[in-house]
Symmetry: C2
Subunit: 341 residues, 2 copies
């Protein structure tokens, strides 16, 4: 991959400089037959049988390179994960960047290489892209926006509308690694034990869904973390259920706990970028757990709570603490954690 | 549509503020069954028969509101046009924004309403979106990145590889309206006669392709204008053809000429956002012209040049000027026209 030393406004103007950047930096990384013609739209084959799924995500994470990943890897993994938790096989991705004039070419190269690696790990081609450049002070290095096309195989149905009282809640690994790593990096904290969990989950999800029936819904707990996922699910589940999480079962790494204590945060609201939350029928919860643990990205999976009947006046999401008391877990009001992804 | 007075960092943090912005501003504008659940990915139906097409584009136009359109309208129209010139029916769009902290809610509302209007005109739903907010000085009001999914009907084949010596070149309307309007607005020039041509072309293209066989390739002359399209086509056409354009036949509005003279630019390199360049077999050129002129967006279509045999030492793209001389038309080197789209 060849990148210029610094990004110039002309790299986004659609002329020779844009052409060279695309041919020398993006094209070699993402090489595939649909992208190669650099046409106005990438032509794919006929759609595989099933329902189409479409998603998009913007990525403005600060810092753009962090322990365990970078903005490009995060962008592709994030979009793959949105498809995967919807039950869709990823079919193709797009990758658009908005670069700030003066951005070091090396940073762009790192993000392109990260995106390439995540796409390779997920087995999905990046078939279309776009490059815009904004003047100094109108951006911040590299922003990337990805979109993902997937197909949900016939007969597969997942969704929060299937979640029932009595269902179990599992997570595929420790909570808050990504959020804690980003915040620590921003505050000059850190240490070797902190590392983002960012990873494309398409393989883990397929492994699970191919082996166990009775999974109701899947989510990736990104912005807003596990607690936000719980609130979202309850907002769409029929009836008026609640969710009870058990503090003693929630996997959180000591280093994440330490950062949270220092910064006054709680890992239950911190973003993960390589975890899924699984809602399943109670009689398959143990199967789900063991199948998840068979996969490299699910080794530290845990059963963490269940969907309960919500009594009058009971908050929707509750934590049973280590001391046995019950604590309501509310949605974040908003401004706590900007630019985490 | 309800928007906050100013955008706060919390509007991008994934908590209550984000939820309210999505529910009160984006959801009512784009209302459709695939978007409504606000799931991780939008679930569409089975794919219509044909080949899938996927495209993406970032939009950072400055100023974001201009005579004839706005950044949101431009974003949706631009992506619809990338699909349309590829021969694809648009099926679904995504719309992601990167907002600067402090951006007036009214500007966001204008862009959402513009995107809604363009999507309605093109008859395509916006099924997924994302909102990120960056701190003051790390963005510029509103940036939008759209992706588009389309389907090329069975049996339809278009592409630069089909372009042959002898083929004719047409444009669907005057050149450079968008580029001239943006540059004039940025320099405080303007006047009532200048107005961006931005428009979704899906209807015009379907009208054409349903009525005439022999269209080889279509392009939307955005960044880099007509000249860049000619170079791109020649880069992919078999053999070693050239393109000869006739100055006297190239439609350019007097107001666009005037702005170009003032700013030292040439309309042949200026962006259009609601025009297509059509390459067709010579025997159907007159049919293409009359069919284009039947459609409201093609009333000012013109035959402007042809694909020629390129002699030794001849530049790829030539202009036959009004005085009968030949002038080479080269690719822009790059930095001339940033943030035109």
């Amino acid at each position: 991959m060849k990148v210029p030393e610094r990004i110039l406004l002309g790299h986004g103007a659609g002329g020779r400089l844009t052409g060279r950047l695309v041919r020398e930096a993006f094209l070699p990384a993402f090489e595939n037959p649909a992208l190669a013609p650099l046409a106005d739209a990438a032509l794919l084959g006929e759609a595989p049988e099933g329902r189409l799924a479409l998603t998009t995500d913007g990525h403005v994470v600060d810092p753009p390179v962090f322990p365990g990943g970078d903005l490009g890897y995060l962008a592709v993994a994030g979009t793959v994960n949105d498809l995967a938790v919807s039950g869709a096989h990823p079919v193709a991705l797009t990758f658009a960047v908005i670069l700030e004039e003066g951005t070091p070419g090396d940073l762009l190269a790192t993000c392109i290489e990260g995106a390439r690696r995540a796409a390779e790990e997920a087995g999905v081609p990046v078939v279309a892209g776009d490059t815009k450049v904004v003047p100094r002070g109108k951006g911040d290095g590299v922003y990337a926006v990805t979109a993902g096309l997937g197909v949900v195989p016939p007969g597969r149905e997942l969704g929060d509308h299937l979640v029932r009282e009595g269902d179990e809640v599992l997570v595929t690994g420790p909570l808050g690694d990504h959020g804690a790593t980003i915040l620590a990096a921003r505050h000059g904290l850190g240490g070797e034990a902190l590392r983002s969990d960012v990873a494309p989950l398409a393989g883990l999800v397929e492994h699970l869904l191919a082996r166990v029936d009775g999974v109701r819904a899947l989510h990736d707990p990104t912005r807003g973390g596990l607690v936000s996922v719980c609130h979202e699910v309850l907002g769409r589940a029929p009836g008026r259920p609640g969710i009870l999480l058990r503090q003693q079962d929630l996997p959180v790494r000591p280093a994440v706990h330490a950062v949270c204590e220092l910064l006054g945060l709680d890992p239950l609201w911190l973003a993960c970028e390589g975890r899924a939350v699984v809602f399943c029928a109670p009689d398959v919860a143990e199967d789900v757990l063991s199948v998840l643990r068979e996969h490299p990205l699910g080794r530290e999976a845990a059963r963490v709570g269940r969907v309960v009947t919500r009594g009058e006046g009971m908050p929707p999401v509750l934590l049973e603490t280590d001391t046995g008391s019950l604590r309501p877990l509310d949605l974040l009001s908003g401004h706590d954690l900007p630019r985490i992804c």
